[in-house]
Amino acid sequence: MDFTLQNKKDKHDMLKAIGIKNIKELFDLVIQKILKIKKINISGGKTEQELLNYFSNIALTNKVLTSFRGAGIYDHFIPSLVGEIIGRSEFWTSYTPYQAEASQGTLQAIFEYQSLICALTGMDTANASLYDGATAVTEAILLAIRVNKKNKILISSALHPEYIQTIKTYFENYSIKIIFLPISKKKGNIEKSIIDMFVDDDTIAVIIQSPNYFGVIEDMKTLSFATKLKNKKSMFIAVVNPISLAIFQSPSEYDADIAVGEGQSLGITMSVGGNTCGFMTVKKTLEWKMPGRIVGQSIDKNNQRGFVLTLQSREQHIKGGKATSNICTNSSLNALAGCVFLSGWGGDIEFKNLAKINVSKARYAFEKIKTLNGFKSKFHDNFFLMNS
């Protein structure tokens, strides 16, 4: 089954217009004979019905489990409306909104997404999304390096291990020192004394995740202020869970320069961790240094409010090798899901309750599991748990 539409007569007429006898000629003109392949060995040619059966059978070899695995991907409830909206073909079959007048739906939705992500983090500016949480942290570090030309990055060792692996990959060819800050063996967090010990004049940025990989809430304010006290130019990069921000300190409250994270919790299916949305927010002064697309408000010729892609001279399609990043495709449709998700809970109070339910359930499970034979808590002092 393919999706081409020309019938015999169409083809005949088209070949005639081109002035050739068959399609082969178009390739023969330019492709050396030695390169042309006889045939490829790919099974297929299935009808829609056959495909449904074939893939349903493959799906049967997956098992849908009740998942408490956490680790950055969560099985949160997704309201019906989210699927309905991102299922609208006007959204999912549209292109990157370069032609603003033909893309107001996507552009306004991204503008709303940026506004909502700023509401959660308290930060000044958000971009239109990145690939995922891991690449968002990595891009945050790249941003910090562009601004702060020193040579040392300090990263919490309780940052998601796959984020750490991603960072290591990205910076393999950079002459920048990456130092992993040890966590307290008792409490599972980063202590202020560690910041005091490690931050120095060469520090570009300190990267702390909260809740960290172990589900422990960090005292971000203390850590951020300690960082600035040691070196006021050093940046504080917060890696945050968006739902936790309803009840725990927001990055703006502790003067983070950049706040990033994984947006999968906001109405996006788990899909083996491969259908996510990285978010990035910054202080106003860093706006022009941000990677990726940004939507801005503008007006049309008749003074009507509208939206456009903006600050584009940061981007690869304008700047090539001098761009702030190579990113082009991002996670637009998933950002839309986040936008729909965040708008219907009933405002701050109910959204805070949603966050509290998450804490409450995580603690309940923790307390119960702790009592089971063979299980004990990894950390022993008082610590505060969200989800992990």
Binding site: M14, T93, N173, G320, N326, T329
Partner: protein, 475 residues
């Protein structure tokens, strides 16, 4: 004008409700507590449904119109792909489930890797990359690691001036220095110029074949020979793979590394700009450097292999954008070998047919035949103070998305058109007529119609300059 979400907010019955079976009266230590308001909107389900439905109607999309958009292969996204991707046994799977409980997922990734190898002539693929540019970056890191492993210091990547902007941006991100290569007027590579810049410290060259002017690189075997003789590697930008499926393989041309955009060639949707997927393929000698984990078949079970000591590591969390991978695989199983070849042939036929209707009237810098896309230069036609961007906006009035304009950079007043194989002759004929009408009737007789365009869109021409000068980036 559609209101913003914050303007829609009211004290209404909210769209979603929390279950009240859980304790929410939890104590949060004062020093960790959020003090500031969030200011999230409260909107009912019906109002949210209307808001986003109304917004969706302000979008042009493949489900509403033809996208003659070059370089992006906006082909039809078959609905069966979406239906299969909605199966809960695909989207309710956690990445850290035991591999025995996600054999179906691993099988699809594994099988797609095999099929992409067969289509491209590469020996293995990594499917972890989230987009084309992410694939480029990964491929370049693989190249860097390879040279490191054999103890060679090679710091340059050659990028033709007709290439996509991502090429040089990715090379810089991967730590390389970019040497631009001036292309011939048809975007092809000048062997003489290439030889001049091919020094012993060049790691590789990034090529798009067919190139961004829609021309197949006739001398590709010679280029490949020269580059390899210098000890450098060839990178294939797969953005234009839709022209050559089942006809010729990048691997046979001599490419060592490549990426494919599953959301272009393999019909996964663009989603208004993502998520996408950019698998990276390599020849066997580069396999040790691919990202981890690799998916292996042990007896009849699929397993994750992290034991790759020379791997560049991972480039994102988990295994790649699985829903996009799945949609691409469904597409390949629906077309099969015959359908894939037919798709490329029809894509090339459609492009040449359109070109045949323009070539006698409009400058074509790359000759009168093309592969799956072609580039026109409007420079000699523009008059009455009309710019290429005005022509693009006027097309919106007729219900078409705009072609790619001002790219590639080596063509003045460029208009790049890629019809894809999934458009009918009738659709192409209508577009051809309207495009000719704008250029040859309206431009002289009613230039104001073009200057004022668009008028049939939800909003008139938007002011992009002001938006960048005084950025308003949230409500």
């Amino acid at each position: 004008m559609e209101k913003l979400l914050n303007e829609l907010s009211s004290k209404c019955n909210s769209a979603y409700k929390l279950n009240c079976d859980t304790e929410t009266d939890i104590e949060i230590p004062e020093n960790l507590k959020r003090k500031s308001d969030l200011g999230l909107p409260n909107i009912s389900e019906i109002d949210l449904l209307r808001h986003f439905t109304n917004l969706s109607r302000k979008n042009y999309s493949l489900s509403t119109c033809f996208y003659p958009l070059g370089s992006c292969t906006m082909k039809h996204n078959p609905l069966i792909n979406e239906r299969i991707a909605k199966n809960r046994a695909f989207n309710l799977i956690h990445p850290y489930q035991p591999t025995e409980t996600m054999q179906g997922i691993l099988k699809i990734i594994y099988n797609l890797e095999r099929d992409l190898c067969e289509i491209s002539g590469m020996n293995c693929f990594s499917l972890q990359q989230a987009a084309g540019a992410h694939g480029e970056f990964t491929g370049l890191l693989v190249i860097a690691k390879y040279f490191k492993s054999i103890g060679q210091k090679r710091i340059h990547i050659i990028v033709p001036d007709s290439a996509h902007g991502t090429n040089s941006a990715s090379a810089v991100m991967a730590g390389f220095n970019v040497i631009p290569l001036k292309s011939n007027p048809d975007g092809s590579i000048s062997i003489l110029k290439l030889k001049k810049i091919l020094t012993p410290d060049v790691a590789g060259i990034m090529l798009t074949v067919p190139n961004t002017l829609g021309v197949f690189e006739k001398n590709i075997l010679e280029i490949s020979k020269i580059v390899h003789k210098n000890g450098s590697l060839l990178y294939y930008d797969g953005a234009n793979l839709n022209a050559i499926m089942g006809i010729v393989k990048p691997g046979d041309m001599g490419f060592d590394v490549m990426h494919i955009n599953l959301h272009k060639t393999f019909s996964a949707p663009h989603g208004g700009g993502g998520p996408g997927s950019g698998p990276v393929g390599v020849k066997t000698f580069l396999e040790p450097f691919l990202p981890v984990p690799r998916i292996k078949k042990k007896k009849s079970k699929f397993v994750l292999d992290y034991e790759k000591h020379n791997s560049i590591g991972r480039v994102k969390a988990f295994f790649g954008n699985f829903p996009i991978i799945l949609k691409a695989y469904v597409y390949i199983k629906s077309l099969g070998a015959k359908g894939l070849k037919n798709a490329s042939e029809q894509a090339v036929l459609n492009a040449n047919y359109m070109l045949s209707k323009f070539k006698n009237k409009i400058t074509v810098p790359a000759g009168d035949k093309c592969m799956h896309e072609f580039v026109l230069s409007l420079k000699s036609l523009l008059k009455n103070n009309i710019k290429t961007v005005d022509i693009a906006k006027r097309l919106l009035d007729y219900g078409y998305y705009s072609p790619t304009i001002y790219f590639p950079l080596i063509v003045e007043e460029a208009v790049m058109i890629e019809p894809t194989e999934t458009e009918s002759k009738k659709t192409l004929d209508l577009f051809i007529n309207i495009f000719n009408n704008i250029l040859f009737e309206e431009m002289s007789k009613k230039p104001h119609k073009i200057k004022e365009a668009p008028v049939n869109t939800p909003l008139k021409r938007l002011n992009e300059i002001e938006a960048a000068r005084k950025p308003v980036l949230k409500w």
